[in-house]
């Protein structure tokens, strides 16, 4: 029994230790973002890696989300004779919920995992130690540009996701299933307000920060991770846990932000 309490205590301490470490990490990175010198080139490079390279997967998933939403929506709404509001159904669903969440999940899978693995490899191959020994702060040099790029890229990617999703919803709902074109667009114009757009852009800002924070912190502290924190297996383990934790956090934060803004 004592042993069980001991193990529970040790596990709780380890979790608190991890949370504390990640909190300190976030503060250090945010401080370093505002600390001069400000270099644009590393941020642009990261926007290319996180943003531009995620474009294909965002367009692809946005298109199919819009299409399936229109397909389901048309059949459900036509049962009660209100298929005319299909435009607002698709656009509100995508702008307020599906766009931010699914775009963030896609970026987690594509860029979050890559960031975690990259930083994890830099840690185990002593590249992070080398930076510290050269009096170059890794929080500033390696992490800060990724944070800024994540915060810039996520809302832009989500906006693209929304546009593609709505347009593909229009193609399925109007061109394929024969819905009324005027009703589609007018229901969207009359029901989508500025507060929906604001929510649709605030969420990706939070998600961008979450994804890069969790992914980079997990990689940065790979050597302190309990149970096989070394070598390729250690990097593989933290990358998996970074993707899982980021995905779960996105869903939880999505609920929290929605309930706060509604």
């Amino acid at each position: 029994m004592t042993n069980l309490f001991g193990k529970l205590g040790a596990a709780a301490l380890y979790q608190f230790d991890q949370i504390g470490r990640m909190g300190v990490f976030l503060v250090l990175v945010v401080v370093n973002i505002f600390k001069p010198p400000y270099k644009l080139a590393p941020i642009l490079k990261q926007i290319y890696i996180i943003g531009s390279k995620s474009l294909f997967v965002i367009v692809f998933t946005g298109a199919f989300t819009g299409m399936v939403l229109a397909l389901q929506g048309y059949h459900t709404l036509s049962k009660v004779g209100v298929e005319g509001i299909l435009g607002s159904f698709v656009s509100l669903g995508i702008i307020r919920e599906l766009g931010p969440v699914l775009a963030a999940l896609m970026v987690t899978g594509r860029a979050g995992s890559a960031i975690c693995a990259e930083i994890g490899i830099m840690r185990i191959s002593e590249q992070i130690d080398a930076l510290e020994c050269m009096a170059i702060d890794p929080h500033k040099f390696v992490i800060a540009p990724k944070f800024v790029a994540g915060i810039i890229s996520m809302p832009l990617l989500t906006a693209i996701y929304d546009v593609v999703g709505i347009f593909c919803g229009y193609l399925v709902g109007v061109k394929m299933l024969g819905g009324n074109e005027g009703s589609f667009w007018s229901s969207m114009y009359s029901n989508v307000g500025m507060e929906d757009i604001q929510m649709g852009l605030l969420k990706p800002l939070c998600f961008g920060l979450l994804i890069i924070w969790i992914s980079s912190a997990k990689g940065f502290y790979v050597h302190m991770t309990k149970g096989g924190g070394f070598g390729a297996e250690g990097v593989s383990n933290v990358t998996t846990s970074a993707v899982v934790l980021s995905s779960v956090s996105i869903l939880v934060f999505n609920y929290l932000v929605t309930s706060f803004l509604l």
């Binding site: 191959s125 002593e126 590249q127 130690d129 510290e132 020994c133 050269m134 009096a135 170059i136 702060d137």
Partner: protein
């Protein structure tokens, strides 16, 4: 001769395993101190403590007279500006070219224009016999060349102290000799203090002013290579016999 690094009763444990059990060591300015010892004795831990990458559980690590575990991050950064490190696996940034790796400390820590940086980088690479590989990535060059690029990067800001963590591990004899030649050349020219952790006994003794043996978590000695080879200290004697054979531990045969 003043000590630039002092480890005073440094203790460090990982879980239940105590790696350093009260290490005392003094590194003199301008001299080359070689730390030897068996595998897993914690030699690299001494370098990491001196660099401030690891904090001791107890004891002090003083660099230029300052206890580096009780100073601000800013002061630690100032001290680290005087360091150069050649890591065991070179720790080159694998997404940067050879040129960018060596230029990085200059770009991040000085306000030199790119033209001046280019001059310094090319001079250091030439000193290391690395010519014509500026645009290659670390994965495209040999192990020996990686070490020389790592040394060029360590030297690029004219540091006062350079740490070498197993500089020749994984290299064949010819490549090891290349590294030693680069070391001789650069130390003669730049007069830095060197701390070398190595397994390459007895060859490494030729570079050393002092040899320190880490055994059972304690520093057994820090004496000249000649004294080391003839020492009566049981731990030193055992190490010399194991690594160099009994010939080197016998004063009589040494004289003959």
């Amino acid at each position: 001769m003043s000590a630039v690094i002092e480890l005073i009763d440094v203790r460090k444990s990982y879980g239940s395993q105590e790696v350093l059990k009260g290490v005392n060591l003094s590194i003199d300015e301008g001299k080359t101190t070689v730390i030897v010892g068996g595998s897993g004795q914690g030699k690299s831990q001494i370098i990491k403590h001196s660099l401030g990458l690891i904090s001791p559980d107890s004891g002090q690590v003083k660099v230029f007279g300052q206890d580096i575990n009780n100073i601000s991050k800013k002061d630690l950064r100032k001290i680290r500006m005087e360091f150069g490190v050649l890591f065991q696996n070179s720790a080159l940034f694998d997404s940067m070219t050879v040129y960018d790796n060596v230029a990085l400390p200059l770009r991040e820590r000085t306000k030199f224009p790119e033209s001046k940086i280019k001059g310094i980088v090319e001079e250091r690479l030439e000193l290391m016999d690395v010519v014509g590989s500026n645009d290659k990535y670390p994965a495209q060059i040999s192990g020996g060349m990686k070490k020389r690029v790592g040394l060029a990067r360590a030297l690029v800001l004219d540091p006062k102290i350079i740490f070498f963590d197993e500089p020749t591990t994984g290299l064949d004899v010819a490549k090891s000799n290349e590294i030693y030649r680069a070391f001789f050349r650069t130390q003669a020219q730049l007069k830095y203090t060197a701390v070398i952790v190595s397994h390459d006994v007895p060859k490494i003794f030729k570079l050393a002013d002092y040899v320190a043996l880490l055994y059972n978590g304690v520093m057994q000695s820090c004496i000249t290579p000649e004294e080391f080879q003839l020492s009566d200290d049981p731990a030193v004697k055992e190490f010399v016999e194991k690594t160099m054979g009994s010939l080197y531990s016998s004063e009589v045969e040494e004289i003959i």
